[in-house]
């Protein structure tokens, strides 16, 4: 699984970072970002939850 944040959709809520700081980051004045590369297996469920909780539907998952 790979994950990205669509910058056009991101509402800068930081909810993804609250859930999963190992994967997502947010710098003031910018949109959130996700780590590049494959998501470790033990974080996959949490990434799915982050995508569900994101208020602006900005998280894209590639299986």
């Amino acid at each position: 699984m790979r994950v990205t944040v669509d910058p056009a959709q991101c509402g800068c809520t930081g909810y993804c970072v609250r859930l999963l700081p190992e994967v997502f980051s947010l710098v003031d004045g910018e949109t959130a970002r996700a780590v590049a590369g494959d998501i470790p297996a033990h974080l996959i469920a949490a990434v799915r939850e982050a995508a569900e909780v994101c208020p602006t539907n900005a998280i894209r998952i590639e299986e």
Partner: protein, 422 residues
């Protein structure tokens, strides 16, 4: 500016909306929605507190994050597929069956009435209220929702707020006893069975009342009324906003298709329909205004300064027609519109930031979903189904406007269906 004559009961909770600072440019509104120093200042925090206080709208910070996390289960793809296919589709079929046949054999009805009949059953399913199926119960349920929305929208009401609150509290108690409590008790029994190992999580209903029972401490930590507030909010948001939006989309799209017959085959194209729905909602937002409050001094990029404690109204009507973004024809419906500057596809009308409408995907689908089988979103689905049924807006019997409300609703929207099977 529209006049809102009502005054708030507690001046410490800010001035009446007509006395607040109004932000009207796309850039200012967009920035205010995202700014961490500008928080929810309306729904549930002022006179509407008895109706939506401690509900999703009124929370901020950790509590809001936790509530969104808990309620996200209701908006998962599998849940949206079920609501659309197993609830909305048959509810729409039953609603269209109420159309009357004229001497020409064609079906006729009022679009808003048809939408209310169908969506009322969907919102009851989403919330978890059982038994909203027969015409008599549906009518009574709709009547409660209409009257309860007076309290939810009290900030904009020009009448006596004290009286609206008194009547609203009485109605809420009736609605709670008659509709919420019986369904809640059934879900408490199901959850008890699940916790005792006699039922799997997958066998629990996917609805708000079940979520509330599963997270009872979260929902009752501040007030026993929070649960009722959330039910009223979700009910009104599902039926009210989509019933308000779809007629506008049909009115605009019908005119567009008459002038652009080359687009007629595209009423089966989900991306075209989604853009048409978003464009219709841009011109006629379900919530025309939002109230926010600055928790600290803030200078917007436009140079506008807000002081700590200042209340602002975010004008979604004007900002969604801002010529700086939508020139040269910001007031015109154009489903192929390409904004002058890069903005989110859905613009501002579902909000932005943490309080983005939780029902956005439910309404317009997930634009990022790559596959064609993803749920369309209720508004997109309804528009498609109405065109499949041959909806026709007769220029000789046009929709009539309701001047008496702030939510841009029609008083009557007569339509004819040319392809509706008996």
């Amino acid at each position: 500016m529209q006049s809102f004559a009502g005054t708030t009961l507690d001046p410490s909770r800010g001035p009446s909306v007509s006395e607040m600072t109004w932000l009207t440019s796309y850039q200012d509104v967009d920035e205010a929605l995202k700014a961490h120093e500008i928080v929810q200042g309306g729904g549930g925090l002022r006179d509407s507190e008895p109706f939506v206080g401690h509900g999703l709208l009124s929370l901020s910070g950790d509590e809001h994050f936790e509530r969104r996390r808990i309620e996200a289960v209701l908006f998962r793809r599998a849940a949206l597929e079920r609501y659309q296919d197993a609830v909305l589709a048959p509810a729409l079929h039953a609603s269209l069956a109420t159309c009357e046949r004229g001497a020409d054999g064609l079906a006729r009805g009022d679009l808003q009435r048809l939408l209310r009949l169908a969506l009322c059953r969907v919102s009851a399913a989403l919330v978890g209220i059982d038994g909203v199926e027969t015409p008599a119960v549906i009518d009574e349920y709709l009547s409660y929702m209409d009257r309860l929305s007076m309290g939810t929208n009290i900030e904009w009401a020009s009448g006596d707020h004290r009286e609206i609150i008194r009547v609203g509290r009485k109605l809420r108690a009736e609605f709670d006893a008659k509709y919420i409590q019986p369904s809640l008790r059934r879900r408490e029994a199901l959850v008890a069975e699940y916790r005792a190992g006699g039922r799997s999580a997958e066998q629990l209903p996917t609805d708000l009342l079940t979520v509330i029972v599963l997270h009872k401490n979260h929902f009752t930590q501040h007030s026993s009324e929070a649960m009722v507030s959330e039910v009223v909010l979700f009910n009104g948001a599902t039926t009210g906003t989509i019933t308000q939006a779809v007629p506008h989309v049909i009115a605009e799209l019908s005119e567009w298709l008459a002038a652009h017959p080359e687009d007629r085959p595209r009423v089966e194209d989900r991306q075209f329909l989604r853009r048409a729905v978003i464009e219709g909602i841009r011109l006629h937002p379900a919530s025309p205004y939002l109230i926010r409050q600055a928790t600290a001094g803030k200078q917007l990029r436009s140079g506008r300064r807000l002081v700590a404690g200042e209340y602002v109204v975010l004008d979604l009507v004007k900002s969604s027609r801002d010529a700086a973004v939508f020139a040269p024809d910001p007031d015109r419906f154009d489903p192929h519109r390409v904004p002058k500057v890069r903005i989110r596809p859905m613009g501002l009308t579902f909000g932005d930031g943490p309080h983005t409408c939780i029902g956005m995907s439910m309404t317009i689908g997930d634009g990022g979903a790559a596959d064609e089988d993803a749920p369309l979103g209720f508004a997109v689905y309804l528009v498609r189904e109405f065109y499949r049924a041959g909806i026709y807006v007769d220029p000789a019997d046009p929709p009539r406007w309701n001047d008496a409300n702030v939510r841009n609703e029609y008083a009557a929207f007569p339509v004819r269906f040319d392809n509706l099977a008996r």
